[in-house]
């Protein structure tokens, strides 16, 4: 079940955890624990996704076609071969970009009315 070709805008706004997972998978494929670590690192420890929340999100993202389970395993010795790896799909990338545009738009609005200091 993938949503290739369907409108990315339909899934917006994304739940924050979903967005964070997509960001974590943007540069490389990761397994569950790696995603948690990456999100923690990127947010300077502000957000630690719990395992249950993570896999529930992944289950839904798989159904929505945002991510896919990776079929090829990483090079031998690099990691535990039993692990499941996830990669972002093109549709997932499109949705993440749409979400980012939406957030940017929001920040612009906030700046215009003076909620955020900085360049107008």
């Amino acid at each position: 079940m993938t949503h290739d070709g369907s409108d990315p805008e339909k899934l917006l706004p994304l739940p924050p955890v979903t967005f964070h997972i997509l960001v974590a998978l943007s540069d490389q494929d990761r397994h569950g624990y790696a995603i948690i670590q990456d999100v923690t690192a990127r947010t300077d420890g502000a957000l630690t996704i719990q395992a249950g929340t993570l896999y529930r999100s992944i289950q839904r993202m798989l159904e929505q076609g945002l991510v896919a389970e990776k079929r090829t395993r990483p090079a031998i010795g690099e990691d535990d071969e039993r692990r499941r790896y996830y990669r972002i799909t093109p549709f997932g990338r499109a949705v993440a970009q749409a979400e980012a545009r939406r957030l940017t738009q929001m920040v612009k609005l906030a700046r215009a009315c003076g909620f955020v200091p900085g360049k107008a």
């Binding site: 624990y33 929340t53 529930r56 692990r83």
Partner: protein
Amino acid sequence: MRPSRLYRALLRLYPASFRAEYGGELWRVFEQRRRDAGGALGLVALWLATIADTLISAAQSHWDISKQDVAFAARTLRRAPGFTVTVMLVAALGIGANAAAFSLTDYVLLRPLPFWEPTRLVAVWERQLQSGFTNELSPANYRDWKAASTSFSGFAASTNVSANLVGLGEPIRLDGAAVTSDLLPLIGVQPTLGRVFTAEDDREGAPGTVLLSWGLWQNAFAGDQDVLGHKVTLDGEPYTVIGVMPASFAFPNREAQFWKATRFDGNAFADRTNTYLHGVARLKPGVSVAQARAELDVVTENIERANPKEDPGIRATVRPIRDELSQQARVLVLALSGAALCVLLIACLNLANLLLARAMVRRKELALRAALGAGRDRLVRQLLTESLLLALGGGAIGIVLAMAALPVLTRLVPSALPIAATPAMDLRVLGVAALVTIVAAVAFGVVPSLRACRGIDSDALREGSRAGVGGRRARLVRAVVVAEVCVSLVLLVSTGLLLRTLWRVQGRDPGFRTERVLTLRSWLPFPKYAKTGERAQFYDRVLTQTRALPGVSNAAYISFLPMAMGGGIWKANVPGQPPVEGAPRSVSLRFVTPDYFATLQIPIREGRDVSPADRGNRAAVAVVSESFVRRHWPGQNPIGKQLNVAFADRTVVGVAGDVRTRGLERESEPQVYLPYEQIPDGWMPFYAPKELVVRSSLDPAALVPQLRAIIRDVDPQQPISNVRPLGDIVAAQTAPRRVQLHVLGSFAIVAFLLAAIGIYGLLSFAVSNRAQEIGVRMALGATPGSIVRMVLREGFLLAAVGSVAGVALAWAAGRSLEALLVGVTPTDGATLAAALVVVLVMTLLGSGIPAWRASRVDPARVMRAD
């Protein structure tokens, strides 16, 4: 517990499908985080975060699946509307029957009475050591028991009274109660308006004070807030309104419309045999009913020793006020609940059968889904969701059915209960209905779901594989049908026993003819009518004018109507027949005007009716009933014999036919009728004739306005009440039985139909499964007749097994119904035989169509099919 074990236990909270998919991953992540946690504090934080996360995400995960299942089930059920509606209606019958039965049970047996700490309230009665009868209390015994006992924190008394209320439009007749001043504080009920009685209101000669019921306040005073201090006249005496009781207050029963203080006068305590008070006491905390009873036994023995001449052999009976409900009422309510459970049981059995058949048909679909990766748990869950949806739909319809049945059920509530409200569909009942719904869903859903999903594999997908043919399934379905036959036989026998009782009771001769007789009550108040001569004038004028009305053939007055009033009992002695120990001497005493016997067409067997010549200054005479003659002068001519009753020796001048004064179901005392003028002035006000009976050749109901006009003309202040045809009074005798029968009977009919459908379903399924075999048999020369016999034999075999079990259970059910039976034994053969015939018909109905269908099997076609 090791950490890994604890975490695995946590993981079990997830739905099985989620656990199967991600359990390993979750476990690995957790292990890694535990290794990285570092330090005890970090570990604690990790555990806390993990537990919270698991609880939340597991709940969300379950919710997601349920949403999917519900949506899927709704789609599936919409595609099979016939099946869905059938299942919901059958479930509705079972659930509705139980909701209705529970609303009645809750109301009559379970709900606490609307008083303060009602479990500590007890009713206190006098008990005659010799006969075991219980009586009301005499004022003297009430006073002495109250003073001597220490078990109670309070001991109050009340007595039913009625009075003519004058001064508010039409004069009206009211029922009420006289209560001791401590009664209302004792049961702990506050007035809505004003105050309750004080000791000051309750002494001899105190000015009259009255409390109004909510209903009377609304009807007679239009809910006027300034009603306090209002003066009213009750039976000619002035009373001041001091308060209004809340709408929920109904003591001692729903009939009470006003309350006044007892105001015992000095004479009240003189006679210990004059018993008319209902004792109500509150047990001190920690004192049991048995302790109170034991203490009163000692108290009563002491009183007997101190007053040896006064009415010896009196002890006390102490009962929780809840237990005042009659055994009949209790049995009836329990029987209804039992019957409702039977209906639910049959409904669930049928539905389990239906769902099983459907699930078997759907095995291919289920196998397909299993092949696509759905686990067995997931499929079972899906099927259970479906049955829960069906049960919820059925529950909703069932509650509507129960609400529709409430007015009928309300008529089953015994009027003796001190509760104002009527059974209602409230949260308690809805809660029970919801519980029944869920139990039903599980009961009829689990076995089919598990069975259908057992051994799901690719085999089920094979073309030509038969849907669920299997010895085990057939055995299960047969057991279900046997159980259905058994339960419906129990209901049929119970209903049959009640029906036979009703016929027995209705077939009894009341001793009088009711057709075209109208009755009404004009209760002449004392002291206004204390003089017998003044009452006689009233009766003579009313009766003369009434007899002059067109169509009226007879009219008379009597103290009490038969059946409407069973009491009015007096001891009669026959000179020369010394009272024998244990021999009954009670008679039902009535004062009548001439023409009473003719009006009710009670035959005069010997001698004459009372006559206008039997005046107060003439020889005292009496008309007695045949049973009185049998008791005292068997085989002799009673005319001219003497008896002593109501303070005088009287000569028998006539013998009348027996009348069932105590109603159709009870034995009645022999009757003694005295002429209305032979009561000394001011004596026995309770016995003064008050019931007018009129026989007319025209419609008696049309007489009412004319009778009202006549009485208004004779005494404008005299109220009229209880206008009704005499036939209604006799019909009222059997009304509760008819309602019982309707309710139990409708349960039995539902059970009967469901069981017939069950047999039909089983045999149809069996026939369609065995079509091939039947085809072969026919090809080999079996006649359609022999095929029909084969199918019928199976149906009858099941019915026979169910009947054997059913007869045993029906016998037990009949025994428990014994309190409701009159003139019929629980093992009544005719009833049992009739029920068995009905089961036979049910089996024929259920197996007929499948048998016919089997005989029409075309051998050529079914054999070509494979």
